[in-house]
């Protein structure tokens, strides 16, 4: 127990919270953008997986982490586009469409992984690139804080910037007003001449871009390879974080950080040798409890 406390009180632990929050934060910002326009993006989990896969293989083929990252982001946008095509133009139920996208990503990545490497488990044999870590001048020299905040992966800083980006996008730009108008009342937005489907399409594509960056971090930062179903529920945790943050970017970022912390605790508990099968469930249990508390509060408010 004391060893566990030592770990979770160390600066490395707080450093690791930012690290494990990165994919959740990106994905939850994606969920915020989509939900602002009133289209739930249930396919986030699958988009992250495809992006993680693309990142590894494109960076290996081009020997450039930047191009790999670009490829991952593009693949996220493409898959979101596929979901958008079906839900917006073919009127597929968005939830079933999302479920289909997720299982398409899960099966598709294993299929391609096997074709490329002859292995169905992971792509360790592929020499892929990772996105590098950077130290921030001045801050890195501050004791404690420097150790926590400096030296992260570029994508981690980018994920924090994505919160600002989404906040500004939604609250300050004309496109953001359109997104909110469409999400608030589709018919009213249509009556003032907003092309509802186009706005929803843009929302889903941005959401795909953000989720794609989150997926890229999984295979090009968090670890340096791709393995099957490696996103393991982070997309869904992000969706829960978005629901608890009530589609507000700042509140959603805070809840993402909470889920990231529970993820980091589960890693720390596994590191001291507690039954790893059990402690691995901590983030998921935290998500269920978080969802429960949030929903109960909402329901109470609705009844007043």
């Amino acid at each position: 127990m004391s060893k566990f406390l030592d770990i979770i009180l160390s600066t490395q632990f707080f450093y690791s919270i930012f690290r494990v929050t990165t994919p959740i934060l990106f994905a939850s910002m994606g969920a915020v953008v989509a939900n602002t326009a009133g289209v739930p993006n249930i396919g986030i989990e699958g988009i992250m997986l495809i992006a993680a896969f693309t990142g590894v293989f494109v960076s290996a083929a081009t020997q450039s982490a930047a191009i790999g990252l670009l490829g991952a982001a593009l693949s996220g946008i493409l898959l979101a586009g596929l979901l958008a095509f079906f839900t917006l133009y073919y009127r597929t139920n968005p939830i079933l469409g999302g479920i289909a996208i997720n299982s398409l990503a899960s099966g598709g990545t294993i299929f391609l992984l096997y074709l490329f490497t002859g292995d169905k488990g992971s792509a360790t044999s592929v020499a892929s690139k990772v996105v590098s870590e950077i130290n921030i001048l001045i801050i890195r020299d501050i004791p404690v804080i420097g150790e926590i905040i400096s030296g992260h992966n570029i994508l981690t800083y980018l994920s924090l910037l994505s919160v600002v980006f989404v906040y500004v996008l939604i609250k300050k730009t004309p496109l953001g007003h359109h997104l909110r108008a469409v999400g608030e009342s589709k018919n009213a937005a249509e009556s003032v001449g907003i092309n509802v489907n186009r706005v929803k399409l843009i929302a889903l594509l941005i959401s795909g871009l953000l989720a794609g960056l989150g997926g890229a971090f999984m295979s090009m930062g968090y670890v340096s390879t791709f393995s099957r179903d490696m996103v393991s529920g982070r997309g869904w945790i992000a969706i829960a974080a978005e629901a608890m943050g009530k589609t507000n970017p700042i509140a959603t970022a805070v809840t993402s950080l909470l889920f990231g912390a529970s993820d980091a605790i589960s890693n720390a508990a596994a590191a001291v040798g507690w039954a790893s099968d059990l402690v691995r469930t901590i983030p998921y249990i935290a998500t269920i409890i978080g969802l429960l508390i949030f929903s109960a509060r909402e329901l109470k408010k609705a009844r007043l």
Binding site: I42, Y90, R91, I99, A100, F111, A275, D277, Y284, F294
Partner: protein
């Protein structure tokens, strides 16, 4: 042919479990985790309980069904009482069940003598083949009986009617005096009973020990099957056979060539996308209707 039928048995269970919740427009993917977890729990009974043949299997199946019902009712309470999204909580629950099930496996069930899997189940706990030369087992009969029961439940009982009403229009059902909380709970519990039973039957008939190390994927197959059958229990039998046919075919293809079985998962996803697309072939349908009118 025997292969297809034996592969279809667990799919019938998961398809039925999904169709019950889908009838109420609840998107619950919990069947996935329950298949895994109920198989893990019944392993304790199947390995160590000294029961006579017949009673042993019955106990196992009842226990599996109860495990499923308990887990589903947790998700049901979260949805019905607190309004928590059943999709998110059931998916999180799947991961929790995977963790707890794996813990039970490594801590208590793992057979040190075997390369993988638990201790073998007791002889009295197993289902044997009922058709010589195949592995088709008693589970088929159970699956067919359950299908009949679910059909009667959905289309011939008051509770089934209420489930369908809630599925079609929740607000309308609520205004006309249907207790939506109760309906959500019932549909979750029934779905849990069926998927728990499915996990138990599959493991005592086909595996003869607990050997899953990851979620078996029946839940997602069940979603596709229920949709193909338009959530009709009788249709579930045929769509299960169809998916089992795809699966068996993919296994053969994988054995004979280099095409991995995941091709089926890709196909299934595309089928889901296309089936749930209301507007797919819409213009074709429109033209067909217009031509019909023109001919009159």
């Amino acid at each position: 042919m025997g292969n297809i039928i034996e592969a279809a048995i667990p799919l019938i269970f998961s398809g039925l479990a999904m169709s019950v919740v889908f009838q109420a427009s609840l998107f619950n993917m919990g069947a996935e985790g329950i298949f895994f977890f109920s198989a893990a729990v019944i392993s304790f009974i199947a390995i160590w309980a000294p029961l006579p043949h017949g009673i042993h299997q019955t106990t196992i199946i009842v226990a599996g069904a109860l495990v499923g019902a308990i887990i589903m009712s947790i998700i049901g309470i979260l949805k019905a009482k607190f309004g928590a999204s059943e999709l998110v909580s059931s998916l999180m629950m799947n991961n929790v069940l995977l963790g707890v099930g794996s813990y039970l496996m490594t801590k208590y069930l793992r057979d040190p003598m075997a390369s993988q899997g638990s201790y073998p189940y007791a002889k009295t706990a197993l289902f044997s083949s009922i058709v010589p030369g195949t592995r088709i087992h008693l589970g088929l009969i159970i699956a067919l009986i359950v299908t009949g029961l679910v059909y009667v439940f959905i289309y011939r009982t008051k509770w089934g009617y209420e489930i369908r009403m809630v599925g079609q229009n929740k607000s309308f059902a609520e205004y006309s005096g249907i207790n939506v909380v109760k309906v959500i709970m019932i549909s979750h519990i029934v779905s849990g009973l069926i998927s728990g039973m499915g996990g138990a039957v599959e493991s005592i008939a086909m595996h003869k020990r607990f050997e899953w190390s990851m979620l078996p994927g029946f839940g997602f197959d069940g979603a596709l099957i229920a949709m193909l059958a338009n959530n009709n229990p009788l249709g579930v039998i045929f769509s299960s056979l169809f998916v089992a046919y795809l699966r068996t075919g993919a296994d053969i293809v994988a054995r004979l060539s280099d095409v991995p079985t995941e091709l089926v998962t890709i196909l299934q996803s595309l089928v889901i996308l296309l089936i749930s697309a209301e507007r797919f072939l819409h213009s074709y349908k429109q033209r067909w209707i217009e031509r019909g009118i023109g001919n009159e």
